[in-house]
Subunit: 275 residues, 2 copies
Amino acid sequence: MKTGVAELISDRMDSMPAGERRAAQALIAGYPVVGLKTVAEFSQVAGVSSPTILRFVARLGFHNYPEFQAALQDELAAQLQSPASRAGLPQPSRRGGVPPTVEATLENIHETFRHVSEKQIADMVTLLSNPKAAVFLIGGRFTDPVAHYMAAHLTIIRPNVLHLAGQESNWRDRLIDMGKRDVLLIFDIRRYQESLARFAEKAHQRGVHIILFTDQWLSPIARFARHVVVGRTAVPSPWDSSAALFVVAETLIGELTRRLEADSARRIGEMEGLR
Amino acid sequence: MKTGVAELISDRMDSMPAGERRAAQALIAGYPVVGLKTVAEFSQVAGVSSPTILRFVARLGFHNYPEFQAALQDELAAQLQSPASRAGLPQPSRRGGVPPTVEATLENIHETFRHVSEKQIADMVTLLSNPKAAVFLIGGRFTDPVAHYMAAHLTIIRPNVLHLAGQESNWRDRLIDMGKRDVLLIFDIRRYQESLARFAEKAHQRGVHIILFTDQWLSPIARFARHVVVGRTAVPSPWDSSAALFVVAETLIGELTRRLEADSARRIGEMEGLR
DNA sequence: CCGACGCTGTATCGTATGTTACGATTTTTG
DNA sequence: CAAAAATCGTAACATACGATACAGCGTCGG
């Protein structure tokens, strides 16, 4: 039975000393190329000494280093030569390659983007690309980190970005600063938070453009939103998954960065100068 | 301009002597694996002598054999890292909707879970399932929201969970509370933050179990980590993507919830009662 | 607190590897 | 057809590579 080197590693990884484990991680990170280099180079990449590398390969069951390299080469040859190698056979042990909940997540992301048109994304990016208009972000109990993540990026590429966090009384007072040209990004999945809905309504009354990220059951805030992004959240797990919304957020960040390229490049340059 | 080795060969193939041409054909036939073997083996496969191999690589423009091998390795590394070559496009039916960056993200998630074994996940879950041991979470500039997201869930299903946020001086003092049984979850992708590394080292000296979420270039914290999760972050965008790490985090949350089902159900019940 | 064990790095050794010189053989050219 | 040129293989060489012995160090158990 020909068991792959990568599996050998993940099997015995935990029964290894610290140094050899570093070797294992370095090999996985640059698989399999670093294993084809010399022992000295390998050791340097892994940050350990040469003998540790040799002990590492010995623990995997090889009698010497060349034998270990030969195994890698055979594996590589088999992988590259078979034209059907694209289907994802490299892990014969694990069926489907990924755990079911991850598979569901992948499916969710895919499905989410089938319903979010590129035009919709472009429209939202346009809204966000006006540097005069302020951008506010807020989220619910589990989704606020996603809002935070998005805010961390937006702050870099454009001014007037504010993540509304902390005490409710804290951000409620920010309503006073919101005007017709401004944008409010809300993340809200079930169970939908009452406080968020109240906040959204007030903002809506002030003429703020609301962009809502929610799940397929639609937060009540959708009523006030200019744009609604529906992300699939169902996974075989006790929790809902926010991964799809996370990816949508990253996509918006990327697109907006592209759009503002000229301006944001100068801005980033200035920021570097301030260090 | 970096022209591939294979192209170099086909360019100059016809201006080669018979022996070197045999070498070229042998290399193309088993590309690039035979080129990574020793000169003697290469010569044997090609059916020529060692010096002929040397003259062959010299004609391609390389000064010596190791330089030639290094070029092959670089080429191979670049080829393996770009997902387009391998897993390719397993979904030819619905390639329409998703933008390229999303496609890359999906591929990243898939690839990430090829290297994270289920056993590794199970081990990490075991570490996290001890309610006596405290769990601390921290992240870098862009990844701290992911840590926050994970903390929000963990807090519900088990006690002694603390997200280290805010001022550096703030969480540094928390070291005093960390002991040998405790677990520290760190998210760190490039550019790796100096402050995080210092913190990790201190925690490591106190005997804390460190679980590291990083990118394929391995944060220096890997040196101190008991478990290292390598997430793919490359996307066709100015930013790196944290989506893969996000999904890993969700997976851990789900698995841990399942493991603690009995305890956490009672705990959640109590929480409901407190409203 | 102390002894034993295991892990890791430094230094050293033998050897396999890449490299070069030179002569044999084939191919080319006048 | 002969001489010259070019190509190729055999053999000797030097380097650097993998392998090993040993000592320092931290860690665990008594």
